[in-house]
Amino acid sequence: MNTNAIEAQGLVKIFGDNRAVDGVDLTVRTGTVYGVLGPNGAGKTTTIRMLATLLRPDGGEARVFGHDIAREGAAVRSLIGVTGQYASVDETLSATENLVVFGRLLGLSARAARAKSAELLEEFSLTDAARRPLRNYSGGMRRRLDLAASLIARPPLIFLDEPTTGLDPRTRNQMWDTIRRLVAGGSTVLLTTQYLDEADQLADRIAVIDRGTVVAEGTADELKSTVGAQSLQVGLAEADDLGTALSLVQQVFGAAGVVAPEGLRITVPVPHAEAVADLLVRFRDAGVSIDSVSLDKPSLDEVFLTLTGHAASDDGPAVGSTENTRNDTEKVTA
């Protein structure tokens, strides 16, 4: 019995002169959650679309439960459910109608399709809205319906393409719970995300993908250990001190600090604990007044920075990317 849900070697997809996916290898064990982490345009969606037989790879090969994605597309499609970052349900139809149509397409009788639809709507707390047209749905409801539609045939492998992008924190937590329950039920999940904490929370193993290639692979802990044991966070009292503070960090730690978006917080990996004391003394001598100091375990943000040399959010806004964006044209921005 093959215990790998996905085995991919050297997947390549080229759009024009853009190598959107440039030799991706992935191995996903059955029954695990595998996170593919990367910024917008890194090639995550393109990779999923190839594995789900929606796009033909230009190079490499992949098997889903042992079935070749290029030669045995129909067999692969019978084993997978796909939930895209755009709503892959029919806007003009009600939730029930959507699920019944998908159920009928999957070979259920009219009665069985209605029963399955009712069962899934109940499961995803959508029963009250079942008859409403989808254009009145919130983003979170739409995602839940989208996921429900992927589960009609109870596929053993589920692709979730950025399942929480654009959702508010509460809805995101609900979605996380649902994904955890899916895995508890024995499903294998491949999820892409640009949220580092999401991969950290959900995934057993993570592949960090950047500009179409896998730059690191391992458990969250393994990835974190690549950036050192701890990191220092310093909150500055005055934004004017930022330049001085950064140059002192560089001098004492021998590494560049990462500045948080609001421009008042510097994060830097700690080479050894002594250095922290040295840095704080230098700050006081230079008249840099600080608001807060903390030592943290490294976050995946720092992992990303260390691995790729640029922050995860370099390539565009990390939140609020539109749900309707179709990513077959996703571009790798430099």
């Binding site: 679309r49 789900a52 037989t53 929606l54 439960f65 045995e72 129909a74 067999a75 499609r77 019978s78 084993l79 997978i80 459910g81 796909v82 895209g84 755009y86 709503a87 892959s88 349900v89 029919d90 806007e91 003009t92 139809l93 009600s94 109608e97 149509v101 998908f102 009928r104 397409l105 999957l106 070979g107 069962e119 899934l120 499961e123 047209p133 539609a149 992927s150 589960l151 045939a153 109870r154 596929p155 053993p156 329950r181 899916l182 508890a184 039920g185 024995g186 499903s187 309707n324 179709r326």
Partner: protein, 273 residues
């Protein structure tokens, strides 16, 4: 939390044969057609071109040209009703391409493509569902004519056969627009190109006027235009209950269109889908 709902089915139970059988393909196509009809139910405004348009066109053209072409409105009706019918139903077939393009641009299309179903089902379903539109347009045009005083000499049978002929032709033509819909970049483009094809075909025919009133060079085109054959066939079927050679020419033209455009539409569609 019912684990039964979310737990995956055993692998062996879900693996389906690599090719979808004919019975399943037909059933899936009908499900896709059912989806098309559900969409119509939720957005009835989609039916404007096959409901109000035939009424308005029939009224407008009949009162506008009736006196000039046939001497009176009553005398014009046997001429114009088949003409309007052909024009309206053929125009309705453009929507197949426009809606197919809109559908293919939406996320839901990805789901259809990721399901273990026959890849042709969404296209076949769209073409099937659109025949309902043609039936609506045909019925409304005939009813408008009857209300205005048209008394077809071919009787009920002749009118029904005439209606069926028009529906078959519209279905055949919808393959052309389906092809344009598959290869086009946008729905607007489909609409534009399709009407560029349609206007000369429907107006440069005998649909609204007698052919012998036209300049000679135009008569040459009008006489070979398949729409003219269709209109003539509908006229003799509905007004006299006679099956003429025009029926044969019309069906032959429809068959030629299907033989050419169905394979290239399907091939282009499967390449994209």
């Amino acid at each position: 939390m019912s684990t039964a709902t979310l737990a995956p089915a055993p692998h062996t139970a879900t693996i389906q044969p690599a090719r979808v059988g004919l019975a399943a393909t037909v059933s899936q196509s009908f499900t896709m057609a059912y989806r098309g009809l559900l969409k119509v139910r939720h957005t009835p405004e989609q039916l404007i071109d096959v409901t109000f348009q035939p009424i308005i066109f029939t009224l407008m053209f009949t009162y506008l040209f009736g006196g000039a072409v046939s001497g009176s409105v009553g005398a014009y009706l046997p001429l114009i009703i088949p003409g309007i019918l052909a024009q309206t139903v053929i125009t309705a077939s453009v929507v197949t391409g426009v809606q197919l393009r809109e559908d293919m641009d939406k996320g839901v299309f990805d789901r259809f493509r990721s399901l273990p179903i026959a890849r042709i089902a969404p296209l076949a379903g769209a073409l099937l569902a659109d025949t309902v539109r043609y039936v609506v347009a045909t019925t409304i045009t005939f009813l408008t004519g009857l209300v205005m005083g048209w008394r077809p000499g071919g009787g009920f049978g002749g009118v029904v056969l005439a209606g069926l002929l028009v529906i078959v032709c519209a279905w055949a033509l919808s393959w052309i627009f389906a092809y344009i819909g598959v290869i086009a970049r946008s729905a607007t483009f489909v609409q534009g190109v399709s009407f560029m094809v349609l206007f000369p075909l429907t107006f440069l025919s005998n649909a609204f006027v007698e052919v012998d009133t036209l300049p000679g060079w135009m008569q040459a085109f009008v006489n070979v235009n398949p729409v003219s054959h269709l209109v003539s066939a509908v006229r003799t079927l509905a007004n006299e209950g006679l099956v003429t050679a025009d029926v044969g020419w019309t069906l032959l033209s429809a068959a030629v269109v299907v033989v050419i455009f169905a394979p290239i539409a399907v091939r282009a569609y499967l390449r994209k889908a």
